[in-house]
C-alpha cells in the first residue's frame, strides 16, 4: 500500500430520492474501509443537504422506465407504470412512498440519518458555489456537517489524486 491514503470524491448533482443513495452507500462503504471521502453537492443534488428538502426527496414515476408495476407485486410482467397515470395527483407521492419502503426493506436508513452517519465517520461535505448563488442559499440552508461553500476550482484542488464519481 502507498503512504497516501486512498481518496474518493463524489459529485452529487441529482435530488431524486433514488439518486441520493449511490453516494451514501458507496461513501459509507469507503469510510468503513478506511478510504477518505469528499462529497460535492451541486445543482439538484443540494437537496440532499438542504434542511428543508432532505427528508422530502421524491421519486417521480415519469421517465422511470425500469420501474415496473411488477415491482409492486402485480402480475404485469414488463409493463411499466403508464405515463398517463403520472398526471394523477398523488402519483409521485405514491412512487416515493414505494421506494422508501423498498429502501427500508434492505435496512438502509433514510437520507438524513445516512448522511449524518457519513459525517460522523469523517466524510467532508461541500456545497457548490455557483449553485448556491443561483438558488440564493446560505450556509444556514444546509444541515450541520456541510463544511463550506466552494468553487469548482476549489473542488479540483481538494480532490487532487482522488478518484471522482459523478452521480
Amino acid at each position: 500500500m502507498s503512504d497516501e491514503n486512498r481518496h474518493i470524491a463524489f459529485i452529487c448533482s441529482k435530488g431524486d430520492l433514488d439518486m441520493a443513495y449511490p453516494a451514501l452507500v458507496m461513501g459509507w462503504a469507503a469510510l468503513g474501509n478506511g478510504i477518505d471521502v469528499t462529497i460535492f453537492f451541486t445543482f439538484w443534488g443540494m437537496d440532499i443537504i438542504n434542511k428543508k428538502r432532505q427528508k422530502r426527496l421524491e421519486l417521480s414515476p415519469i421517465g422511470k422506465t425500469s420501474m415496473k408495476m411488477s415491482m409492486m407485486g402485480l402480475p404485469t410482467g414488463n409493463l411499466g407504470i403508464p405515463n398517463i397515470m403520472s398526471v394523477i395527483p398523488g402519483m409521485t407521492a405514491f412512487t416515493s412512498w414505494f421506494m422508501k419502503k423498498k429502501i427500508e426493506e434492505v435496512h438502509a436508513p433514510p437520507v438524513d440519518e445516512y448522511l449524518q452517519m457519513l459525517v460522523d465517520a469523517g466524510a467532508n461535505l461541500y456545497a457548490c458555489k455557483m449553485s448556491v448563488d443561483m438558488f440564493g442559499h446560505t450556509m444556514d440552508t444546509y444541515v450541520d456537517g456541510v463544511k463550506d461553500i466552494v468553487t469548482a476550482g476549489d473542488f479540483m484542488d481538494m480532490t487532487d489524486g482522488a478518484q471522482i464519481i459523478f452521480i
Partner: protein
C-alpha cells in the same frame, strides 16, 4: 511465537474458524492493526460481533454494530480508526462483514 501462526487465515488475513479465537489473539491482531490497547468499549464491540455472528452466521455491518451496542458512529470510528469494517471483523476472529450498510 506469534499466536496468529497457530490459526487458519484466508488470503486477506481473516480467521476462517471463529472457534480458534481467543482474547489473547484479539489483542495480538489489534496491535497489528495499529490499536495498542483494547479498552472496555473495544471489547463491547467485539463481544457484540461474536454473539451476532454466532446467531446469524456472519459478521455484523457497522450500522448493526452501532444499533446493537449503543456506541455511536463517531465513537466506533474513533475506537477503530481507518476502516472499522474490516478491523472489527478481523479482531473478532470473523470473516468480512456481509451487507452494505
Amino acid at each position: 511465537m506469534s499466536l496468529l501462526e497457530t490459526v487458519a487465515l484466508n488470503d486477506e488475513g481473516f480467521m476462517t474458524n471463529p472457534d480458534e479465537w481467543t482474547k489473547e489473539l484479539a489483542m495480538e491482531i489489534a496491535r497489528g492493526e495499529g490499536i495498542a490497547e483494547l479498552t472496555e468499549d473495544h471489547w463491547k464491540i467485539i463481544e457484540f460481533c461474536r454473539a451476532n455472528a454466532e446467531s446469524s452466521g456472519a459478521a455484523p455491518t457497522l450500522r448493526q454494530i452501532t444499533k446493537g451496542t449503543g456506541i455511536s458512529t463517531k465513537e466506533l470510528f474513533a475506537l477503530y480508526p481507518k476502516g472499522p469494517a474490516k478491523k472489527v471483523a478481523k479482531i473478532s476472529g470473523l470473516g468480512k462483514p456481509e451487507g452494505c450498510v
